[in-house]
């Protein structure tokens, strides 16, 4: 049985703004699905529709096979982790965690057991009597997660839970969330605008733009085989070039004539390749490109190089090490298998 399903869900707010259009999504039990997209793409609106805070204008929401489209949040088998943690400031850590089970009339012994177990799992046993304002951001996020898990929901909804944490802590809490998700086996719907977070955590990624789903797939799939120019550009960095089809195996671009493995279909608008796809030190074979560098940005493990093109965006290359400077002439190869075709428009 599907843990969560949305069918033709749309949302139009009172001021006429259309936040979501025709969202169809099925999430399997125990799956970790991330809603990924830029600000204003409708991902949080969709999450709040799943939670019951917003009613969809059209469409249907099912939780574990039950229609919950019009059910209020308190009647849904979901729990939410909020961006601001939303801990009850007047209650201690333990009382915050106990709030949900108490509300659901779980007996005192079971409640205490759950609270103690969760405190141990999120490593906050020594902080159980503290008020939330005495905890760090990471600790508060762990309390929020424990509070959500305490009601044993079948689906946990995460609304950009790591956005208030610094980079190092974000990675640590990210691992903790994924670890707890695997341990408890709950279904997770996770909202973020951070593509690295989405790729690292998810079983599947739902890339959204302008209230619509652009692509759904495993992280490797959306990264390696983006279907639209937006997905290619939003997830990682991508070089997008207009092209003209020459024959079944080659296209004409601003980089010159390129041999391709895929054949572009009629909806394809751009040729796409990743900066790390450039192969250096190769002097023979197809798709050898020589160009002058216009910009260089050292990134630690690699150096980003820019190649200017007439009537097309700069193309970016990721060169391991630092052995290139502005004005240098370099040669690289693009493997035909690494060249994709995507539909859609550039932002």
């Amino acid at each position: 049985m599907t843990a969560l399903r949305s069918t033709d869900v749309s949302k139009v707010f009172e001021d006429g703004f259309t936040a979501l259009s025709d969202i169809n999504l099925s999430v399997e039990p125990g799956e970790f699905v991330t809603l990924l997209g830029p600000s204003g793409c409708g991902k949080t609106t969709l999450l709040k529709i799943f939670a019951g805070f917003y009613a969809p204008t059209t469409g249907r929401i099912e939780l574990n096979g039950n229609d919950v489209t019009n059910a209020p949040p308190e009647k849904r088998d979901t729990a939410m982790c909020f961006q601001s943690y939303a801990l009850f400031p007047h209650l201690s850590v333990a009382e915050n965690i106990e709030f949900g089970p108490k509300q659901n009339r779980i007996d005192r012994t079971s409640r205490t057991g759950r609270v103690n177990e969760l405190l141990r799992q999120v490593d906050l046993e020594q902080h159980r009597d503290k008020l939330p304002n005495k905890l760090s951001g990471g600790q508060q996020q762990r309390v929020a997660l424990a509070r959500a898990l305490a009601i044993r929901p079948s689906v946990v909804l995460f609304d950009e839970p790591l956005s208030n944490l610094d980079a190092k802590l974000r990675e640590q809490v990210r691992r903790e969330i994924r670890g707890l998700q695997r341990e408890f086996g709950f279904t997770a719907i996770y909202v973020t605008h951070d593509q690295a977070e989405a790729l690292a955590m998810s079983d599947r990624v739902v890339v959204m733009r302008g209230g619509r789903v652009d692509q759904i797939g495993a992280p490797e799939e959306v990264y390696e085989r983006p279907e639209t120019a937006f997905v290619a550009d939003f997830i990682g960095s991508a070089n997008l070039l207009p092209f003209r089809r020459v024959d079944d195996h080659s296209v004409e671009t601003a980089l010159g004539r390129l041999t391709v493995a895929d054949q572009p279909d009629s909806s394809a608008r751009f040729l796409c390749w990743r900066p790390e796809d450039a192969e250096f030190g190769v002097t023979q074979g197809e798709n050898l490109i020589t160009a002058n560098l216009s910009e260089r940005a050292y990134q630690g493990s690699y150096t980003e190089l820019h190649i200017p093109l007439p009537d097309a965006p700069d193309q970016r290359l990721h060169l391991p090490g630092v052995a290139a400077g502005i004005g240098d002439r370099i040669t690289f190869r693009l493997s035909p298998e690494r060249i994709r075709f995507v539909r859609g428009e550039l932002e």
Binding site: A51, G52, F53, P72, P73, E74, T78, A79, M80, F82, Q83, S84, A86, L87, F88, P89, H90, F99, G100, Q103, N104, R147, I151
Partner: protein
């Protein structure tokens, strides 16, 4: 803190706090001394508890005390009880909410005596309430509504006058609670009433206490509403105090009543504030 620093702080506070303490202190001192036989208008000053005995033995005093306490409790709790749902309703702005909020606070700008007079005009024999009752056919002739023995008129006026004040304090406090905190409570299974008693009330308890205390003190010492629209078979403490002074020239007994009113105001408001704190902490109401 050094002595020098302490003295400096005291000196800096003196112009403000000193005047207040001097004013309150002198009034309180005179009232206390007068109630035990000093500061007489005529006759010799001498220490005596006779004035207190006469006041405390008086049935009129007992009735005035319980009546004022009753009005103050009903006014403070009633005002807060009415103001809370309105404050929650007005928590997030909507079309017209500003106008509604302004209208609800309008009674703050109407002096109590004027409000009483207007109220009497509405419920008097010739008022629109009686006219309406006769026009609908419920009564054949005007009925007496003013100065009712149950003090409903005074209670109404107290709520009308004090609810906006409670609303003023509670609106700010309720608005300071984030949407996400309330959403979290809802998400964890709390319905409307549970969200109020487990989240909103504890997080706004200070505004609630301030409302209860200030309204209680004002209502306990009410004179204008009582004299204009109150029942004629019982006096409020303030009315009784003035009555003793004006009708019999019993300044010393009036001072004893005044001090009793202060004790009632202090004790009652503290009790209400304490009860509000306990209830909001336990979440068992």
């Amino acid at each position: 803190m050094t002595l020098r620093r302490g003295l400096l702080i005291l000196a800096l506070l003196t112009p403000g706090l000193g005047v207040i303490l001097l004013m309150i202190g002198s009034v309180f001192y005179v009232a206390v001394m007068q109630s035990v036989g000093f500061y007489n208008l005529t006759g010799e000053d001498s220490f005596s508890l006779e004035h207190w005995r006469k006041v405390l033995d008086s049935k009129q005093f007992g009735r005035a005390l319980s009546y004022s306490a009753y009005i103050a409790v009903v006014a403070s709790i009633g005002s807060v009880a009415i103001a809370y749902p309105i404050a929650i309703w007005l928590r997030r702005p909507f079309r017209g909410s500003l106008v509604i909020s302004a209208l609800l606070k309008a009674p703050l700008f109407v002096p109590g005596l004027v409000a009483s007079f207007l109220f009497l005009n509405v419920i008097a024999y010739h008022g629109i309430v009686n006219q309406l009752l006769m026009w609908i056919g419920i009564t054949n002739a005007p009925i007496r509504l003013q100065n009712d023995r149950g003090a409903w008129g005074v209670v109404f006026l107290q709520l009308w006058k004090n609810m906006p004040f409670a609303l003023l304090l509670l609106t700010g406090a309720v608005q300071s609670i984030s949407d996400e905190v309330l959403d979290a409570a809802r998400d964890l299974g709390a319905g409307g009433f549970d969200r109020f008693r487990k989240v909103i009330a504890p997080l706004t308890v200070q505004a609630m206490q301030a409302s209860l205390i200030i309204i209680f003190i004002g209502a306990a010492g009410d004179f204008a509403f009582q004299v204009t629209a109150g029942p004629t078979n019982v006096q409020s403490m303030a009315q009784y105090m003035v009555f003793l002074k004006d009708s019999f020239g019993r300044w010393n007994q009036a001072a004893a009543v005044g001090l009793s009113l202060m004790v009632l105001a202090l004790f009652g408001s503290l009790m209400l504030a304490f009860t509000a704190r306990i209830l909001s902490k336990s979440g068992k109401w």
